[in-house]
Symmetry: C2
C-alpha cells in the first residue's frame, strides 16, 4: 500500500465528462490498495474568465480580493470530483486550502507555502476517504485566501506530498511526459523516461512549460519522486527524480526555447562601480525579472551592457531604463523584441567537454547568428533572431542525437 | 452616524454594470457619514448554473460538497464589489461566512445561524472600511461550509444587523417594496409604507416571495427595522417593523396567493386515535411540509381527512399515502393538483369582526367555490380551483378597499 498524491490540471477537469475520467483513474488507484490525495486545478478557461471579471471591476484589482475571487475556480472542481467519486461509491471529501490548512506567507497572487497541516488529511485517509484538495490556494496568518501564481497547483501537490511523506506525486497534464524538445516543433522529439530535478529546473526556467519551477524545487528539496503523465492515456510518463548514473551517459537531455524574451542594450556606458546597480535596482524594485545579463570588456573606460527581460515587461523597462540611461551618461539604448532563447540542458555536460562548441557549430552550420550566450553547469543558452527558433531547435536536436534513446 | 446593513439580491449584482450601481449606492450611504456593511447574493442565474453542474456530477450530490460548490457564487460577487469600491476610492474588504465568522449548525443546505462574530467586522468598520459579506453561507463547528437555503442572504443580512446592533437593515431587491397584492395580477395593487413583522411572516408563508421567512422571524426577535427597497430606484420602499396603532386601522393589509399547492383527500378513514399520526409521520420523516390539514366531523365512526402539500412533493406523497391508506383501511385517496390558496392578511383582524365572512361573501359573489378554509389570528386562507386565482385576488383586493391608503 502506497500513499499517492495525484494532481490534475485544467484540461483534465474541463467538464463533467473529464472529471468522471479523473474519478475513474482515482478509483483505480484506490482499488490498487493505495491511499489517494487528489489535487485539482480550475476547469480550463475558468481562471481566465474570473480574471476577465476582475479586470472589468477594476484595472488594478486589489490583490487580496483578486485571490479570493480566482480561488473559486478550484473550489468548484474539487466539490464536483468529490460528488462524482461518491456517486461511484467511493468515500471522498473536498478540502479548500483554508481547510487543510495550506499555510502561506502574505504575498497575495504569488504566495509561498510555509507549512502544510496533515492532521485532517491523515484522519480522512485512515478512514479510507479519498482526499480532494484545491490546488493553487492557501491561507495567510490572518485567514485571508492566497494564491500561488500560475501553475501553482503543481506546487500544491508537491507540498502536500512532502508534508504527507507520500510515496510519489503524479502530475497529470495534457502532455504525456517530458520530451527532448517540443513535439509541435520537431516530430523527432522523444519522450524521456527519466530526468533529474536539476535538468527539469533548467528546462522550466528556459521556457519549457510542463511543471511550475517552484514545484520542482520543492520536489528536489524533499526528495519527492514526480511522475509527469497524461490524464488521457495509460502511458508511463516521465519520472523526475535524483540524478543517477544513467542520466550522465547522455550529454544533453533536452532542447528548449523561449520566445517571450526581449533584449535591451545600453550603449557606451561609463565603466564605473555602481552603474549596474543603478540600472537594475529600479527593475527589481518593481519585481521585473531580468534573465541574462552580459557586459562586454571595457574599452577606454566605456562598455556596452546587454540584458534580457520578459517581452510583456518591455514597456515598463523602457520607461525606467531610458531615465537611468540619461542619469548615468550612456549614449543610448537599443530594444529588440525579435529574439528567442534556445537552450540545451543535460547533467552529462558536467563530465563531457566541448558541448557548448558543438552547439555553436551546429547553429553556425545553418547560418544562425548568436546574439548572446550564457552558460550554467548543466545548460547552455543562446539568444538568436526569433525567426530562426524552430530551425535552431531541430538542428540542435539532431546535433546531439536526441531522437535515439542511448 | 448610523450603522446600516444593506443586502442586495441576485438581480442587483447580475453583472459588473449592476455591481457598479450597487457600489454607487453604498458610496452614497458611506458619504452620508454612516458605517456600512453590505451583504450580497450570487449573480442572478449563477446559483442555478452551479446546481446544474452538481446535478450532472451526481443525481444526489452529497450535501457537504453541494454547499461548498454553490457558496462560490457569493464569493465572486463580494470580491468584485470590493474591487469596484476600491477603484472608486473607498476602502472595502470582502468576508466569507467562514471569515466573519457566521457560525451555523451542521444542517447542510438549510443551516441555521447560531452566532455571528462581530470582532473582525467592527474592527474594519472603525477604520472606515466598507465591509462586504457573502450572504447565504456560514461555517459549521467542524469548519465545513454551510448554506442557509434559498433566500438565505436575507437571513444573513438580518443576522449581521442583529449581531452588530445595526440601526437598520435595507433589503434591496428587484421590487420596490411590499404590495397589497401582486401588481402583475392586479394593477390596483398599492405599495405599503409600513407592515408588521407578523403580517410579513404570514404573507411569506402564504406565498409572497419578497423576504425569506426566517429573516423576518429573526428581525422580529431582535427588533431589527427592515426596509424592503428597489436597487434600481430611489423610492422609500416598505418598512417592516413592530406592530403599531396605524396598522390596526386597516382590517386587511394584503392579499396573496400560492399556486404551488396540491390537495390530498383520504376518504372514509376510520376515526380512531393514532390515524393522523400514521398518515403524517412518514411525510415528516422525509421532510415533506404539510400546510393545511382539515378533518371533517366524524359520521358513524368514519371521517374524511384533507391536507395540502407543495405540488413538487406530490409524487412522493402519493407513494407514501397510498401505502398507509391500505394499512389504515381508508376507502381511497383523491389527489388534486389544480388548486390555489388565496389569503388575506392583516393585524386589524384581531379587533375587527366579520373579516372571514366578508371574504367568503366576496368569493361567492363571483361564483368561486371554496374547497378548504384555514384561519390564524391575522390570516384567512381559502383553497380554490386554480383557474380562479387571479379573479379571487382582484375581488378580495376590491372587497377590502386595498387600493386606498386609509
Amino acid at each position: 500500500m502506497a500513499l499517492i498524491v495525484q494532481k490534475y490540471g485544467g484540461t483534465s477537469v474541463a467538464n463533467i465528462e473529464k472529471i468522471e475520467n479523473v474519478a475513474r483513474r482515482v478509483a483505480r488507484t484506490k482499488e490498487g490498495g493505495n491511499e489517494v490525495v487528489v489535487v485539482l486545478s480550475a476547469m480550463a478557461g475558468e481562471t481566465d474568465r474570473l480574471i476577465q471579471l476582475a479586470r472589468k471591476a477594476s484595472e488594478q484589482p486589489v490583490d487580496r480580493e483578486f485571490d479570493a475571487l480566482i480561488s473559486t475556480g478550484e473550489q468548484v472542481t474539487i466539490t464536483l470530483l468529490a460528488m462524482v467519486l461518491q456517486r461511484m461509491g467511493y468515500a471522498a471529501k473536498s478540502f479548500l486550502g483554508s481547510q487543510v490548512k495550506v499555510h502561506t506567507d502574505r504575498s497575495f497572487t504569488k504566495a509561498r507555502i510555509v507549512k502544510v497541516d496533515t492532521e485532517a488529511m491523515t484522519r480522512e485517509l485512515k478512514r479510507g476517504v479519498v482526499v480532494v484538495v484545491a490546488g493553487f490556494q492557501g491561507v495567510d496568518p490572518d485567514g485571508n485566501i492566497t494564491t500561488l501564481g500560475r501553475g501553482g497547483s503543481d506546487t500544491s501537490a508537491v507540498a502536500l506530498a512532502a508534508a504527507l511523506k507520500a510515496d510519489r506525486c503524479d502530475i497529470y497534464t495534457d502532455v504525456d511526459g517530458v520530451y527532448t524538445t517540443d513535439p509541435n516543433i520537431y516530430h523527432k522529439a522523444r519522450k524521456l523516461k527519466k530526468i533529474s530535478y536539476d535538468e527539469m529546473l533548467e528546462l522550466a526556467s528556459a521556457g519549457a512549460k510542463v511543471l511550475q519551477h517552484r514545484s520542482v524545487e520543492l520536489a528536489k528539496i524533499y526528495g519527492v519522486p514526480l511522475f509527469v503523465k497524461s490524464s488521457f492515456t495509460d502511458d508511463d510518463g516521465t519520472l523526475v527524480t535524483m540524478e543517477d548514473k544513467d542520466m550522465e551517459k547522455e550529454v544533453v537531455s533536452g532542447v528548449t526555447y523561449d520566445r517571450n524574451q526581449a533584449k535591451v542594450t545600453v550603449v557606451h556606458v561609463p565603466d564605473r562601480p555602481g552603474i549596474a546597480a543603478r540600472l537594475f535596482t529600479p527593475l527589481s524594485d518593481e519585481n521585473i525579472p531580468v534573465d541574462m545579463i552580459i557586459q562586454n570588456a571595457s574599452v577606454e573606460g566605456f562598455t556596452d551592457l546587454t540584458f534580457t527581460v520578459a517581452r510583456k515587461d518591455i514597456r515598463d523597462v523602457q520607461r525606467m531604463v531610458d531615465k537611468v540611461c540619461v542619469e548615468i551618461g550612456a549614449t543610448g539604448v537599443e530594444y529588440d523584441e525579435n529574439i528567442s532563447k534556445v537552450s540545451i540542458v543535460g547533467v552529462g555536460m558536467k563530465s563531457h567537454a566541448g558541448v557548448a562548441s558543438r552547439m555553436f557549430t551546429a547553429l553556425a552550420s545553418e547560418g544562425i547568428n548568436i546574439l548572446m550566450i550564457s552558460t550554467s553547469e548543466i545548460k547552455v543558452s543562446c539568444v538568436i533572431e526569433s525567426k530562426y527558433t524552430e530551425l535552431a531547435v531541430r538542428v540542435l536536436h539532431d546535433a546531439f542525437g536526441l531522437e535515439n534513446d542511448h
